[in-house]
């Protein structure tokens, strides 16, 4: 057996029990999946930003150029700020709840559901 074949893979999962915060079935798992999706979407957005930056800089681009591209500190700072705004949009429902607490509750009621 080669050394590579003997090598143990790193463990990615966390041992032990986890709290289920929501009583509805599958809601905790949906939160996890949503966050992972948000992360992957961010990866795509950051990748696109790199494409755009290179395209602007060079007028033409190759895959190699994109792979090797490094953001300048100013570009990095801009992306960091944009990622905060991005997260705020994805999880907007939570902010809406907080802002709703301060809003004027003088809203005409909807008709009673049948």
């Amino acid at each position: 057996m080669t050394a590579a074949a003997e090598k143990k893979p790193l463990r990615y999962s966390v041992r032990g029990k986890n709290t289920q915060f929501f009583s509805g079935e599958g809601v905790d798992e949906l939160v996890s999946i949503t966050m992972a999706l948000a992360q992957e979407l961010w990866v795509v957005k950051e990748r696109l930003a790199a494409f755009e930056a290179v395209a602007t800089k060079k007028k033409v681009f190759t895959a190699k150029e994109i792979e090797g591209f490094k953001f300048t500190p100013a570009q990095r700072a801009k992306l960091d700020a944009e990622s905060q705004a991005f997260i705020d949009r994805v999880f907007f429902v939570l902010r809406e709840r907080v802002e709703g607490l301060a809003a004027d509750p003088d809203e005409p009621p909807a008709p009673k559901e049948p």
């Binding site: 143990k8 915060f21 966050m35 992360q39 990866v43 990748r47 960091d80 902010r95 907080v98």
Partner: protein
């Protein structure tokens, strides 16, 4: 490299891995700042008034706040997302570390032999890692501090270093050493005649907060102990890369093999809250045994519950319930002054400080804080937020 890991043990994330890491720092910022503030508003506006209407009084402590708030959907989202963010931080760096595993182990050996610094490393093949560490993935770090994937392995040291680089969102400073740098600078200015010849860092992990002591007291001999072999091996390589001599040992801080009265300063950072109460008491007694008369024991930690109001107690204790840090609340329920006294330190020798982060405020603010100590913690103490302050306590022998 991961954003705050610049030394020779650094790893090279692919652009996609780096983007996942960037996202996780931003995500944690959102959960710990925006959502935490939102949860406080929900509590103040809805949950606390409801509690007061029902009970004709305000919640008395963190446990009552927790009980009242845990039924609220906002708390559930905050908690669920914070748990996920914690795990995703580590998953964002694991592929990079896994790919670099062999190179890191080789590099650690080279650095260990390098002449850049005269530090040493001592591990013990017969060492039994205590159950409080071995049986849990502390703060949801897969593999925890102690898993070894092969002989002389440093993997989990790298997982921790790169993990806290993403986790800390910049609050641990550019070299992840803000705690050690801020507190050592404060002590040097607070006690200008104190010149420790031998310093010990207990529960040092990768030595990121040990190195600043060696830098600020360059004539001192600095030792550091931890139960994790991968952490001390990695810490040794990391300090060597930094050109700083630190002597790392795989030892349990509850009972070391150093001689009585052999240290002038004993420090720890973010360590005690990961130790069961019995162990904390032993660590204080061990510090008392190891200190010379006139020596100082100093622990950087989260402020005890007795210093905080009900909501802030709840907020900090959250980790104990949900973040696989079961000893966090029991530690914070202790009175550090009483534990110090029970370990043999005189009551009038107890000290505690709240110190501004040198990375956020600069050296002048840390020096100025020597004369501005109020002994009162606030919601900036020990919390990742703009304006962070570090709490520490200890006693002179």
């Amino acid at each position: 490299m991961t954003k705050y890991v610049h030394h020779e043990m650094k790893v090279a994330p692919t652009p996609e891995e780096a983007a996942r890491q960037t996202f996780m720092s931003s995500m944690r910022m959102y959960v710990l700042l925006d959502m935490a503030n939102g949860m406080r508003t929900v509590y103040d506006t809805e949950v606390a008034p409801k509690f007061e209407r029902k009970n004709k009084r305000a919640p008395r402590d963190g446990t009552e706040v927790h009980r009242a708030l845990k039924k609220d959907t906002f708390f559930k989202f905050y908690s669920s997302m914070r748990c996920n963010a914690q795990e995703m931080v580590f998953r964002s760096i694991l592929p990079t570390v896994e790919r670099s595993q062999d190179a890191l182990n080789k590099k650690a050996k080279v650095l260990s032999r390098s002449k850049k610094a005269a530090g040493t490393i001592e591990t013990d093949p017969s060492f039994v890692v205590p159950r409080s560490v071995a049986a849990i993935d502390v703060h949801r770090m897969p593999g925890n501090y102690d898993t070894e994937y092969g002989p002389d392995d440093v993997t989990q040291g790298a997982v921790y270093d790169n993990g806290i680089s993403v986790f800390s969102m910049g609050f641990f400073g550019d070299n992840l050493d803000d705690i050690g740098s801020s507190i050592s600078l404060f002590i040097k200015n607070k006690y200008p005649k104190f010149a420790p010849k031998r310093i010990l860092d207990m529960g040092c992990t990768i030595g990121h907060n040990t190195v600043p002591w060696a830098k600020i007291y360059p004539k001192s001999e600095v030792h550091a102990v931890d139960v994790s072999a991968p952490a001390v091996r990695y810490g040794h390589a990391r300090a060597q890369s930094d050109g700083v001599a630190v002597h790392f040992h795989q030892q349990n801080a509850e009972h070391t093999n150093f001689e009585d009265g052999s240290f002038d300063l004993i420090f720890s950072s973010m360590f005690l809250h990961e130790v069961p109460k019995k162990g904390i008491k032993k660590i204080f007694k061990e510090a008392h045994r190891l200190l010379k008369p006139g020596g100082l024991m100093l622990h950087m930690e989260l402020p005890p519950n007795k210093m905080l109001g009900a909501y802030d107690s709840f907020y900090l204790d959250w980790d104990s319930y949900y973040n696989k840090e079961p000893f966090y609340k029991p530690f914070r329920d202790l009175d550090p002054e009483v534990v110090s006294e029970n370990a043999g330190f005189a009551k009038n020798k107890f000290v505690q400080f709240i110190i501004p982060s040198v990375g956020q405020y600069g050296e002048k603010a840390v020096k100025d804080s020597v004369k501005k100590q109020t002994g009162k913690a606030d919601d900036q103490t020990g919390r990742f937020a703009a304006g962070i302050h570090w709490y520490c306590f200890g006693a002179w022998k």
